[in-house]
Amino acid sequence: MKKLIDILPLFTFIILIGVLFSFLSNKNNQLETVLIDDTFPQFSLSSLKDSSETLTQYDIKKLPALINIWATWCIACRIEHPFLMKLKEESVLPIYGLNYKDNREKALELLERDGDPFEFSIYDFEGRLAIDLGVYGAPETFFIDSNGVIRERHVGVVDEDVWKKKFAKYLDE
């Protein structure tokens, strides 16, 4: 009994280290996906292509769809861009863009140069819809099902691998 108690501090210490380490490797859970299973938030923002055109949630008509948060200042978005183009070219599903805290001219230039994978892009200079979506940065991608409900969220670049693991299953529903 005494021997057991002698190693108690060491034992506690090891358990503590173990628990803390398990939190370290658990980075994916850092961002809670709060909006999952909620309907897409309301918004009223201008279109990227035409500042006089107002877009709302009702303009996201073709469902299911992806909502992709992007910007020209976001380097990872450029890495993601070819994959979004591929989804468009293969008509996998419609993608709507949310241009986040960006310069309108630069954003349009980029779409002109590298291709435009989006049905349209919402221009969210002040990050208003982004706050309602709980966006941390770009790129982020949301999957909206045929009922207009957010089913999945991915923070970071969507590529072939992420698409297969996280998003493809919702299309089969």
Partner: protein
């Protein structure tokens, strides 16, 4: 006496920890004008309580990142709309999750946060008593 001085000096140094976040700069008062003091106090206390989503450990008041500034504006507008502190926090937790408040709710996922420290103190006290008593013998 020397020991006392050293201790006092170290103690004074720790004050910086408490002082750093409570400052309000004049230019901020200009950026977020209020017509009454109660709302203004609520606004700044919320900025101190809410966490910047982009930063690992900074509140909104201590961060100047674009998303923090957006959230400051959001909080400002909600305070102006006469929302209560609870309503504003709920509004942000609905969007950003518990990450955004430093004071997480007691639920199964956060038990270790809330009760872990008490458990460790318990172990520590128990060990001290036990090992001291055995030493004394």
């Amino acid at each position: 006496m020397n020991k006392f001085l050293t201790f006092s000096f170290l103690f004074l140094l720790t004050f910086g920890v408490f002082a750093s976040t409570d400052r309000v700069f004049e230019f901020e008062k200009e950026a977020y004008p209020f017509d009454d003091n109660i709302k203004e106090d609520l606004f700044y206390s919320l900025l101190n309580e809410l966490r910047c989503p982009k930063c690992q450990s900074s509140n909104l008041a201590g961060s100047n990142s674009p998303i923090s500034n957006d959230l400051k504006r959001e909080v400002y507008e909600l305070v102006k709309e006469k929302k209560t502190s609870e309503q504003i926090k709920e509004h942000l937790v609905e969007r950003y999750g518990n990450f955004i408040i430093y004071n997480p709710p007691v639920e199964s996922e956060t038990y270790i946060l809330w009760f872990g420290p008490f458990f460790l103190v318990f172990i520590a006290i128990f060990s001290i008593i036990f090992f001291r008593r055995r030493h004394a013998l």
